[in-house]
């Protein structure tokens, strides 16, 4: 019987223990190991994920602390959306772990969900309900206090106060995107994860969104967003991470950036 172990890149481990692709599980650091200056802290170590035959993430390490905005760049299929979905708790990592404010995303999943807000490619709204009904519903799901006030406040902030009683099905793409952001901010999350936040937005929409994001970071919240556009990434973020085929190939703070090197890597990657 041939021994195929030398072909496997999985440390020779053939079965998975705890997680499906085998590998290490890193426990969450104790709260006091976090930097004191940022109460909101997101940390990922060795995140891996495969979907059946395809590996999508091949060991991702990541940290975000309060007030930071990080742009995630990469081609389609590089693993951006999967990474966000793992951090938000919709997908379990194949290996590795992540801690959000000291809580493990797998073990303490329900608590972590209170701390993160997600705007995805799909709006995650109910078409047949009105904008207000949607927000009330999600408010109930997140056990938001004073849901009526909070919902109208957010609708105002995203510029949808006039469409509050219209069904989502009749709203424009831009309006739906803004409502989706309102949904994500409903429970005042510590960390915002946005997948292509500019989709469908005109300049006015982008300004409204920008204002809200400013507010969020001013309160100490973090933002991790994906985008296709290098210019937007530079405008809107403090650091840039580039993903290629499931690996981080570039990670720099904006201050340390050399623009031409960035351009070059970006061309290679996309």
């Amino acid at each position: 019987m041939r021994n195929f172990a030398h072909l496997s890149t999985n440390n020779g481990e053939m079965y998975s223990r705890g997680t499906l692709s085998g590998g290490q599980v890193y426990p969450c650091g104790r709260p006091d190991t976090r930097p004191a200056s940022s109460p909101f802290f997101l940390e990922a170590k060795g995140l891996k994920k495969s979907f059946g035959l395809k590996p999508v993430l091949r060991s991702i390490d990541l940290t975000l602390s309060g007030g930071e905005r990080v742009a995630l760049l990469g081609a389609n299929g590089a693993g951006k959306t999967t990474l966000l979905r793992i951090l938000v708790g919709l997908t379990k990592p194949g290996a590795g772990s992540a801690c959000i404010d000291g809580l493990d995303i797998v073990r303490d999943a329900q608590q972590v969900r209170h701390l993160v807000g997600f705007v995805a490619h799909q709006p995650y709204l109910y078409d047949e309900l009105t904008a207000l009904e949607n927000l009330y519903f999600f408010g109930k799901m997140y056990t938001v206090k004073n849901i009526q006030e909070r919902a109208s406040l957010l609708l105002d902030k995203v510029g949808l106060e006039k469409s509050a009683r219209e069904r989502v099905a009749v709203l424009s793409r831009g309006q739906v995107q803004r409502l989706s952001l309102a949904r994500a901010l409903l429970h005042s999350p510590h960390h915002l994860l946005l997948d292509e936040p500019d989709t469908g937005l005109d300049q006015k929409g982008r300004d409204l969104v920008e204002a809200l994001l400013e507010e969020h970071t001013a309160r100490g919240g973090t933002i991790l967003f994906t985008t296709h556009q290098l210019e937007r990434a530079l405008q809107m973020s403090d650091s840039i991470i580039m993903l290629n085929k499931g690996r981080i190939v570039f990670q720099k703070k904006r201050a340390d950036l050399e623009l031409d090197k960035l351009q070059k890597t970006y061309q290679e990657v996309t």
């Binding site: 019987m1 041939r2 021994n3 195929f4 030398h6 496997s8 890149t9 705890g18 692709s21």
Partner: protein, 249 residues
């Protein structure tokens, strides 16, 4: 024929890097060989006992000998389902893929045994009362168990080789194992209203019968174990193949 052996399980210290064309001395598949030998001996003994040793039944005649096949086969079908359920609980609890391999192996082997149990039961019924089928509690429950097995195989087949598939299969198995006794009881109650011919040998059994039955039972359990080892290793290989496939991409 390649017998499954523990060699398909790789350990860190056995890893060799960069030596294609040279494979390490393979350890003989001890467990498989042992089980195969024992099963073979058991089968030979059983066949001898069933056809030559045990006296012919006074009432039913020679066809009654199918009893010595039917009962152990049906028993193994139930056992396999029990193993499937335990492996399912193990998987949901520990999230270790190996429990899922065990579950799938037991499901495959169990499906075959239950099918054989139905067939042998039906043949036995035909020789005893002239009908191919009777709705007695045991046969009916066996039939429903067969459907649950088939449902499990179909579900796993449609969902593929993913963790979601493993979890769903595990839930189905757990619900099934809790349900089967209830099904048996409800069919029993229902039958009290329409008493029908029953599959089984009533009354006390003479010692030769008991002995033959026991030997047959042990033999089939050995056969089950042997098959389980093979198919478990097969599941492991399939998982490895999937992983290698992924790593290559």
């Amino acid at each position: 024929m390649a017998l499954a052996n523990r060699d398909t399980q790789t350990k860190h210290r056995d890893t060799r890097m960069g030596t294609p064309g040279q494979h390490k001395n393979t350890r003989p598949p001890i467990a498989s060989l042992a089980l195969l030998t024992l099963t073979f001996i058991g089968m030979m003994t059983s066949i001898f006992m069933i056809f030559l040793y045990v006296p012919t039944d006074a009432i039913e005649g020679i066809p009654q000998r199918i009893f010595y096949f039917h009962v152990p086969i049906a028993w193994i079908g139930m056992l396999a389902f029990g193993v499937l359920a335990v492996a399912s609980i193990g998987y949901l609890w520990k999230k270790d893929e190996r429990w899922d391999w065990l579950a799938r192996a037991s499901a495959e082997v169990g499906t075959i045994f239950i099918t054989l149990a139905l067939i042998t039961g039906s043949i036995w019924g035909r020789t005893t009362w002239g009908t191919w089928w009777t709705w007695d509690a045991r046969l009916t429950t066996t039939l429903i168990l067969w459907f649950i097995y088939i449902g499990y195989m179909m579900l796993r087949g449609y969902m593929g080789r993913t963790p979601a598939s493993a979890r769903s299969g595990a839930v189905l198995a757990i619900v099934g194992v809790i349900d089967v006794p209830i099904i048996y009881e409800s069919v029993n109650w229902w039958r009290t209203l329409h008493p029908q011919a029953e599959v089984g040998t009533p009354g006390a059994l003479p010692p030769e019968v008991v002995l033959t039955l026991m030997i047959s039972l042990v033999t089939f359990t050995l056969l089950y174990s042997f098959l389980m080892v093979q198919i478990y290793q097969l599941q492991k290989m399939q998982a490895l193949a999937q992983q290698l496939h992924a790593d290559i991409e």
